[in-house]
C-alpha cells in the first residue's frame, strides 16, 4: 500500500488561511488534520475602550462573508447588555437581512466553492465556458442575496443601516416589494439548483457527533436563525447569556489556540446541525427538497453540509416572501430608536450561514466597552473537522495521494470554513 504524505498549504476555495496535513506510515494514519495559519487580528482587544455605537462597525470587519451576521450578533449583545428591546418591525427587517446573507452565502458556497469539486474543475472560471448556464444562474442567485442586503442595509460588506435599537434609514416599501418579486422569480432557478445537486453524490463518511444550534424558545414554530435558545442534539438547552457553558472555549496548551467542547469530544455547528436539530420546523417546501436530495434528519455525513445548505436556501427563499409580506402589510413606520447607554453585560446568539455565532460585551455606564468576546462557528467546528479527518483517512487509505488529498479538501470545504472570521483560531497546529 502506498503511504501518503500530504501537505496542502493555504487550502483554496475557503475563506481565510488553513492547511491540511496527512501522513500515513505502513497503512497506519499518523496524522490527519486541519491547521489554521491565519494571522491574529485581536478584535476583542480592538473593542475595549470603544463606544457602544462604534462596536458594530468594528466587529463586522471580522469577516466579509458573514458581515451581516456579525452585525446582528453584535447588536443583540449590545442590546442585551443595555436592556434595550427593539421593536417588532426592527426584528422582522433584521430577519430579512439575515435571510439575504444566508442566500448569498449558501449560493456562494454551493456553486463557487463546493460545486467545482463535483464537476471536476479547479474553480468556477472554466465552468464559465463549459457550463455557462450554471454560472449565469449562480451569479444571479448570489446577486439576489446581495441586492436584498443593499436594499435594507446599504451594502452587504459592510452593512450600514443596522444600528442598536433600529435602522439609520428604513427601506423603501416599493424596493422591498421589488425584492420580493425577484425572490418569486428566482424560484425556478432555485429549483434548477436543487436538480443540479440531486445529481451529485457526496463522498461517504459516517460519524455521529454532537450538533449545536439555536432551537425554538417556548414552543416557537420558526426554524430559528435570529432568535432562540442554544440547544444540543445530546439534549440540553441554554439561554444565549450562558453561551460560555456551551462552547467552553479553552486555550489548549498543546494546540496553542482556543478550542470548543460541550458534551461529546467535539461538536458540529452549521447548516447540517440546524437541519438535524430543527428538521421539524422547516417549511414544507424545504422538507420536500430534503426528500428529493435524500437527506433525512439526523444525518451523520459532514459532506452533506452542502446539501443541507441547499435545503436551507429553499426554506429561506419561501420564508423571505412571507416575511416581506408581513412587513409590507403592517406598513414600514419611522420609529424612535433613541436609547440611553447603561452599564451591563449581555450576549447575542445568531445563526449565521456557517453556524451559531456568539458575541458578548460588557459596557460601563457611559456605554464604553470594557470587555468583548466573539465565538465564531469555525472555531467551534475545528475539533469536529479533525475528528472527521481521523475517521475518514483509514477508510480511503488505499486511494491515490491525489484522491486522498482531494477528499480531505472537500471535507474541509463542506464545512465552508471562515478562517479569517475565527478571531481566536490562531496558528492551530495539532502536534
Amino acid at each position: 500500500m502506498p503511504d501518503h504524505d500530504i501537505h496542502v498549504h493555504y487550502v483554496t476555495r475557503v475563506e481565510g488561511h488553513g492547511d491540511i496535513v496527512c501522513k500515513t506510515n505502513n497503512g497506519v494514519v499518523e496524522k490527519a488534520e486541519f491547521n489554521v495559519v491565519e494571522a491574529p487580528r485581536f478584535f476583542e482587544a480592538a473593542c475595549v475602550g470603544r463606544a457602544h455605537y462604534e462596536i458594530k462597525d468594528i466587529v463586522t470587519r471580522i469577516c466579509g462573508i458573514c458581515a451581516c451576521g456579525h452585525a446582528l450578533a453584535s447588536l443583540r449583545a449590545s442590546e442585551a447588555a443595555m436592556s434595550i428591546e427593539p421593536s417588532e418591525q426592527t426584528v422582522d427587517l433584521r430577519k430579512i437581512v439575515l435571510h439575504g446573507e444566508t442566500i448569498q452565502s449558501h449560493f456562494l458556497h454551493t456553486y463557487f466553492l463546493a460545486a467545482p469539486d463535483f464537476l471536476g474543475v479547479g474553480s468556477v472560471i472554466p465552468l464559465a465556458s463549459s457550463h455557462k448556464d450554471v454560472v449565469v444562474r449562480a451569479l444571479k442567485l448570489k446577486k439576489l442575496g446581495n441586492d436584498i442586503s443593499e436594499t435594507i442595509v446599504g451594502r452587504h460588506v459592510h452593512p450600514i443601516t443596522l444600528k442598536i435599537n433600529g435602522f439609520s434609514k428604513l427601506p423603501d416599501p416599493a424596493a422591498l416589494k421589488a425584492i420580493q418579486k425577484r425572490v418569486i422569480e428566482a424560484l425556478p432557478d432555485i429549483e434548477a439548483t436543487v436538480d443540479l445537486f440531486s445529481t451529485i453524490k457526496v463522498p461517504e463518511l459516517y460519524r455521529e457527533t454532537e450538533y449545536i444550534s439555536l432551537g425554538p424558545t417556548n414552543g416557537d414554530k420558526e426554524y430559528p436563525f435570529y432568535d432562540g435558545d442554544i440547544i444540543s442534539s445530546l439534549g440540553q438547552s441554554y439561554r444565549p447569556s450562558n453561551y460560555q457553558q456551551v462552547c467552553n472555549e479553552e486555550v489548549d496548551p498543546k494546540h496553542t489556540a482556543k478550542l470548543c467542547k460541550h458534551k461529546a469530544p467535539s461538536y458540529q455547528v452549521g447548516a447540517l446541525a440546524r437541519f438535524n436539530n430543527n428538521y421539524n420546523l422547516l417549511r414544507p417546501e424545504a422538507k420536500k427538497i430534503a426528500e428529493k436530495l435524500n437527506l433525512k434528519a439526523p444525518n451523520h455525513n459532514p459532506y452533506n453540509i452542502t446539501m443541507a445548505q441547499v435545503v436551507e436556501a429553499v426554506h429561506v427563499a419561501y420564508d423571505l416572501i412571507d416575511l416581506i409580506d408581513k412587513v409590507l402589510t403592517k406598513g414600514i413606520k419611522e420609529e424612535n430608536n433613541k436609547y440611553q447607554p447603561k452599564a451591563g453585560t449581555g450576549a447575542g446568539a445568531v445563526e449565521v450561514p456557517r453556524g451559531i455565532l456568539f458575541h458578548s460585551y460588557k459596557y460601563d455606564s457611559n456605554g464604553i466597552c470594557q470587555w468583548a468576546d466573539c465565538v465564531i462557528p469555525t472555531t467551534q467546528n475545528v475539533r469536529n473537522i479533525n475528528e472527521d479527518m481521523k475517521t475518514l483517512v483509514p477508510t480511503i487509505i488505499g486511494k491515490s495521494q491525489e484522491e486522498v488529498s482531494l477528499l480531505l479538501q472537500m471535507l474541509l470545504r463542506a464545512y465552508d470554513p471562515c478562517i479569517s472570521c475565527s478571531t481566536h483560531l490562531i496558528n492551530v497546529r495539532f502536534e
Binding site: 468594528i58 470587519r61 468556477v124 454560472v135 449565469v136
Partner: protein, 248 residues
C-alpha cells in the same frame, strides 16, 4: 494578443474586498473576457505565478508575511493595494494603540506568548506599491474603474476630494446640520457617499484627503461652527496608523 493576467492575494483581513470583486455579478463575465484571473485563493484552486497585475488585500502583521509579499512584488509588473487593510492598515491598526502584548493578553490570557504578531502595517511599508483602491470595503465601481484604467496603461483614479462632494451630488441632507458628526469633509471620496446616503455618518474608511485639501475643508466646517476635531470622532477606526510608524 494574450490577455493581461491578474492575481489576487490576501494577508490579514476579512476578505471582504475580494468578496466585493465576486460581488460584481453583472460585470464578472465581461471582466473574464478581458483578463485572465490566474490566482484568487478565495474562489479558485488554480495558482499560477506568471501574472501582470497583483491585487493585494490585507495588512502585514507578522514577519513571515514579508517574504510572501516580496515574492508577489517580484512576480508582478504592477502591485495594487486593495482596501483599507492593505493601503493604510485600516481596522487592524486599532490595536496598534496598545502594546502588542496587552492585545494578546486580552484575547489569549496567559497563553499570549504562543502567538507571533507585530504591529499591523500597510503593505507599502514592505514593498513599493503602484496604486491603491481605498475603502473598507473597496467600492465595486471604483474597482472596475481602476481595472479599466490599468488595462489601457493609465494611472488608477485618485479621488482626492472630500466625500461631501459626492454626498451633495446625491442631494443627501447633510448630517452635520442635524448634529451628527460626520467625517465626510476630510475623507477621500469615490464611494458615492454611501454611508450618509443610508443615514449614517462617514467614518473615514477611504483615508484622509491630502493636506492641500484639508484647508478648504476647515473653511467649509467653519460655516457649520465646527472644527476638524469635532468631526474626527471616528478617526481611530480606520486612520489610526500613523505615517511615522511606517518605518519604525
Amino acid at each position: 494578443m494574450s490577455k493581461p493576467r491578474i492575481a489576487f492575494f490576501d494577508f490579514s483581513c476579512c476578505e471582504g474586498c475580494q468578496l466585493q470583486v465576486l460581488n460584481c455579478e453583472d460585470e464578472l463575465l465581461d471582466l473574464l473576457a478581458l483578463v485572465d484571473i490566474v490566482q484568487f485563493r478565495e474562489a479558485m484552486t488554480e495558482a499560477d505565478w506568471n501574472f501582470d497585475i497583483a491585487f493585494v488585500e490585507g495588512s502585514i502583521t507578522r514577519e513571515q508575511d514579508e517574504p510572501r509579499l516580496k515574492k508577489i512584488r517580484e512576480a508582478a509588473k504592477l502591485v495594487i493595494a486593495i482596501g483599507a487593510c492593505s493601503g493604510m492598515a485600516g481596522i487592524n491598526a486599532i490595536r496598534n494603540a496598545m502594546p502588542v502584548d496587552k492585545a494578546k493578553e486580552i484575547v489569549y490570557g496567559n497563553k499570549k506568548d504562543a502567538f507571533e504578531s507585530t504591529f499591523a502595517r500597510p503593505i507599502d511599508t514592505v514593498i513599493k506599491v503602484d496604486g491603491y483602491i481605498p475603502g473598507c470595503p473597496i467600492d465595486r465601481k471604483d474597482f472596475l474603474r481602476t481595472v479599466q484604467a490599468l488595462l489601457v496603461g493609465k494611472k488608477p483614479p485618485d479621488h482626492d476630494y472630500p466625500v461631501c462632494q459626492e454626498c451633495r451630488l446625491r442631494e443627501n441632507e447633510c448630517l452635520l446640520t442635524v448634529g451628527i458628526p460626520c467625517m465626510g469633509p476630510i475623507t477621500r471620496g469615490g464611494c458615492d457617499a454611501i454611508e450618509p446616503t443610508f443615514g449614517s455618518p462617514c467614518i473615514g474608511c477611504r483615508g484622509l484627503v491630502s493636506e492641500a485639501n484639508i484647508e478648504s475643508c476647515k473653511q467649509m466646517l467653519e460655516k457649520h461652527g465646527l472644527t476638524i476635531e469635532d468631526i474626527s470622532k471616528y478617526m481611530t477606526i480606520f486612520n489610526s496608523f500613523q505615517k511615522e510608524e511606517k518605518h519604525a
